[in-house]
């Protein structure tokens, strides 16, 4: 069985930066990533796309990923693309799979740089073909330049819809309209955080620039929308929504893209038994980390948006911090030198994080997201409705794991990634408890579905 010093899971900004930094200390590094090329979600396909016309469409912060990817390629870390990590046992023994073949390896330290996922938002019709997330649409744009051939409706809140719409317009796509679901009054709540946020003013200005582009292009932007619905027989044919003055409106639609922010990928830390804490400001769980990014499990680190949503620049810094600490742990540098090297990184990280309270307050998910109507499907895999979850509350004060056992919500192939938070919030509301108190599904391995044949193949792997 192979052994490495450091296993890094994910080749996005955090994973690449951690690899480059760890290699500087001469550590033996393996980076595994389920994508075919480095870049993660934000810099997806950056090596092949950055210098092309599509790269220009995607913008400067996309193109800026190229230098990180190049440094990563040159750093001497082993790199296994198209590879899934599906289990880690203490010690650490990692279980990996590629092309339906599984193998294991030992690592002295692990960095989980597995990023974020879009917050799943159940609403009537969200399972209809033709309803996608903005993130999924952006992946198609980045990796293969796909532009919808029909006008696109976008509904949601946060920076990503604005960014995507700007990119889509630049690429020649058509936009039917943007239903901005940010509730009224959010700017007022967010303003007290503005002075600190101005330390990262560049990013803020970008956001306002996107909004201006939409206005200038005459795209309908409908503010403070609620009760978004997709209707149609076999696929989305129309959308329905309520405007700020309480009126219902409908419009024909063939493609509806939705987005209500992102949340850290929490499954791997949960499966590994890492302590997590509820964050009210980002409405999600995050792993409990020290300033180096080390979890409650020794030598297991989380870097990047998986540590709490903070963007690519912060992800790079967090990756470097984790690598520094690992180098110290594995005897490649001493504590004093690590502290000295960490100081400027921590300073810059602080500046990046200063932007978050403003954005988190401005784009805090509206309460409606967590209170879908009774007939709305919550668990897509098993087709369990919100009403089905609420009915469970009649018996005692069940938590997510009991509801899972009795309704099968969370038992499908997505392993609760789509319904976990919704179930937690529905139970919290129905039982008069906080989301933090209700907790989250217990996550069962494998972290990614593997086949029986793959697992069977492991039986022949030589035991050291």
């Amino acid at each position: 069985m192979k052994r490495v010093d450091v296993l890094i899971v994910g080749a996005g900004p955090a994973g690449m930066a951690a690899a480059v930094a760890a290699r500087r200390f001469g550590l033996d590094v393996l980076v595994v990533d389920d994508q075919p090329a480095p870049g993660g979600q934000i810099w997806r396909s950056v090596e092949t796309v950055a210098a092309t016309a599509r790269g220009a469409i995607l913008g400067e912060s996309y193109q800026s990923g190229l230098s990180t990817a190049e440094a990563f390629r040159a750093c001497g870390a082993a790199y296994e693309p198209g590879t899934q990590l599906w289990q880690i046992e203490p010690g650490f023994r990692a279980y990996l799979s590629r092309d339906r073949k599984a193998w294991t390896l030992e690592a002295r330290a692990v960095v989980l740089a597995t990023g974020a996922q879009e917050r799943p938002v159940p609403f009537p019709g969200w399972t209809l073909p033709g309803v996608l997330t903005v993130g999924a649409a952006q992946i198609l744009l980045k990796s293969s330049g796909q532009i919808p051939d029909k006008p696109v409706w976008v509904a949601g809140s946060g920076p990503l819809p604005l960014l995507y719409l700007t990119q889509l317009l630049r690429a020649g796509g058509q936009v039917a309209g943007y239903l901005d679901t940010t509730p009224p009054g959010r700017l007022r709540v967010a303003l007290p955080h503005l002075p600190k946020a101005l330390r990262a003013a560049g990013d803020l200005l970008k956001g306002f620039g996107w909004a201006t582009t939409l206005r200038l292009r005459g795209i309908p932007v409908i503010k403070h929308v609620t009760d978004v619905e997709a209707t149609g027989k076999d696929r989305v044919e129309a959308i329905r929504y309520r405007t700020a003055d309480g009126k219902d409106a409908t419009a024909p639609a063939e493609l509806l893209l939705v987005h209500e922010g992102v949340v850290p990928n929490i499954h791997a830390p949960l499966a590994l038994g890492c302590a997590v804490a509820w964050r009210d400001d980002q409405d999600c769980y995050v792993p409990v980390l020290d300033r180096w990014g080390e979890t409650s499990q020794s030598n297991l680190f989380v870097a990047g948006d998986g540590a709490g949503i903070a963007g690519a620049t912060a992800a790079v810094l967090r990756g470097e911090l984790a690598a520094l600490r690992i180098a110290e742990r594995l005897g490649r540098t001493d504590a004093q030198a690590a502290e000295t090297a960490a100081a400027p990184l921590l300073l810059r990280l602080g500046r990046e994080l200063a932007l978050r309270p403003f954005l988190d307050a401005l784009f805090k998910p509206r309460p409606q997201i967590f209170a879908p109507s009774d007939d709305t499907i919550v668990c897509r895999c098993e087709e369990i409705t919100a009403g089905g979850i609420r009915a469970m509350v009649e018996v005692g004060q069940p938590g997510p794991n009991q509801v899972k056992a009795f309704t099968r919500a969370g038992m499908g192939p997505c392993q609760g990634r789509q319904c976990g938070y919704t179930v937690t919030r529905i139970l919290a509301a129905a039982e008069g408890r906080s989301a933090a108190d209700v907790g989250f599904y217990r996550v069962r391995p494998p972290l990614k579905p593997i086949t029986l044949g793959e697992l069977a193949g492991l039986e022949q792997e030589a035991v050291p």
Binding site: Q87, G399, Q415, R444, L458
Partner: protein
């Protein structure tokens, strides 16, 4: 400290605790269940829910056969079919040598007057399980056996208990038990329960409960691992196991494959946590794909390890405490207790209500596991 009065306090809110409570309540007893976590938290929620007489230890056969009759009318007992289907259980022989073993087993049972296990040849095996690999040469089958849905069973037993007047306290772990006159005082933190009788149905933690009333019972632990796959089209109806392999293979009502067979993960009594050992579990996947080559590309969705008690002879402990008056033990089912749930509830009820039972439980006496202590 609060003090609630009851006729019987059942410790453990698994299926055996629920079943005992149900029979006792229906016999007119005031019953309280104390469950440390929630109903069905450990073995009862983690079981493959096989309903099997096939291959039982001879000492278990009489109560297992009675339990099977009860499963066939389970709806009249708990108001729900519990997802039980009697599609049979089949123990497959992959070689002639294995088939000889099965023939010997069948002959022994016939000698004792039992007819529930039956030898079948390769063609009948193929008829019953068309998806099975063609190298299998024959099998032993118990046609009235089958499998149930553990969560539906838990719901049904729980609802029946509550309808019969049982009070269930979840999140209520027993911390101490002491004698008070003719009664027991069972403490669970700041809560106290007073009753003349106790049922110890605490599963993996039953030896710890037993020690609180003065019984020192040698008890091991199991952490049997399970695999559940994505849903697939109907593939097989019976539950299939194989001689010389750790495998139990079936398809649930939802279409998922449920693969177990007793491969052991890791577990810790103190933290109450268990985990899967994938190197070990690979043997189960290998057995499954050897017997059913068509499932190689089926995706595994979840795996887990459930925690329960295991005795040295793999027989349960069912019966009165030799030391403590009014205490009935019902634990140590060693990986095959699900099928026995209804009959063990009836036995515990016999013992507490009538002071005796007509059912054959001599082999399950706690004393056999306490000898070492007595000798020392």
């Amino acid at each position: 400290m609060t003090r609630d009065q009851a006729d019987v306090v059942v410790i453990g809110g698994g299926l055996h605790g629920l079943s005992a409570a149900l029979y006792l309540a229906r016999a007119g007893k005031g019953v309280v269940i104390l469950e440390r976590a929630w109903v069905g938290r450990h073995a009862s929620g983690a079981t493959a829910a096989g309903v099997r007489t096939l291959g039982r230890d001879l000492a278990e056969v009489p109560i297992s056969l009675e339990a099977m009759d009860m499963w066939h009318r389970i709806e009249t007992i708990v108001g729900d079919a519990c997802g039980f289907h009697a599609h049979g259980q089949i123990r497959v022989a992959e070689t002639e040598r294995h088939l000889t073993e099965l023939n010997e087993r069948a002959a022994k049972l016939r000698q004792l007057g039992y007819a529930h296990e039956e030898i079948i040849d390769a063609s009948e095996l193929r008829r019953l399980v068309p998806a099975l690999s063609t190298h299998c040469v024959g099998a032993l089958v118990a046609r009235r056996d089958g499998a149930a849905d553990p969560h539906r069973a838990l719901s049904a037993f729980r609802r029946s208990c509550e309808a019969a007047g049982v009070t269930i306290h979840e999140g209520c772990g027993v911390t101490a038990i002491e004698r008070q006159g003719a009664d027991w005082l069972i403490r669970a933190g700041e809560q106290g329960f007073v009753a003349p009788a106790i049922v110890n149905a605490a599963g993996a933690w039953a030896a710890r409960v037993a020690s609180l009333i003065g019984d020192d019972i040698a008890l091991g632990m199991k952490a049997s691992m399970m695999i559940v796959t994505e849903r697939l089209a109907p593939l097989l109806e019976p539950v299939v196991s194989a001689v010389g392999r750790s495998l139990s293979f079936k398809q649930s009502g939802q279409g998922t494959l449920v693969i177990g067979g007793g491969l052991q993960g890791k577990a810790d009594l103190d933290t109450q946590l268990s985990s899967v050992d994938y190197r070990e579990l690979a043997k189960g996947a290998r057995a499954a794909t050897d017997l059913f080559p068509c499932v190689r590309d089926v995706r595994i969705i979840r795996t887990w390890a459930g925690m329960e008690a295991k005795t040295a002879d793999l027989l349960p402990v069912i019966g009165p405490s030799p030391n403590a008056p009014g205490v009935i033990h019902a634990f140590g089912f060693s990986g095959h207790g699900f099928q026995l749930v209804p009959v063990v509830g009836a036995i515990v009820c016999d013992l507490l209500v009538h002071g005796k039972t007509e059912r054959q439980i001599e082999a399950f006496a706690a004393k056999r596991l306490m000898a070492r202590k007595a000798a020392a």
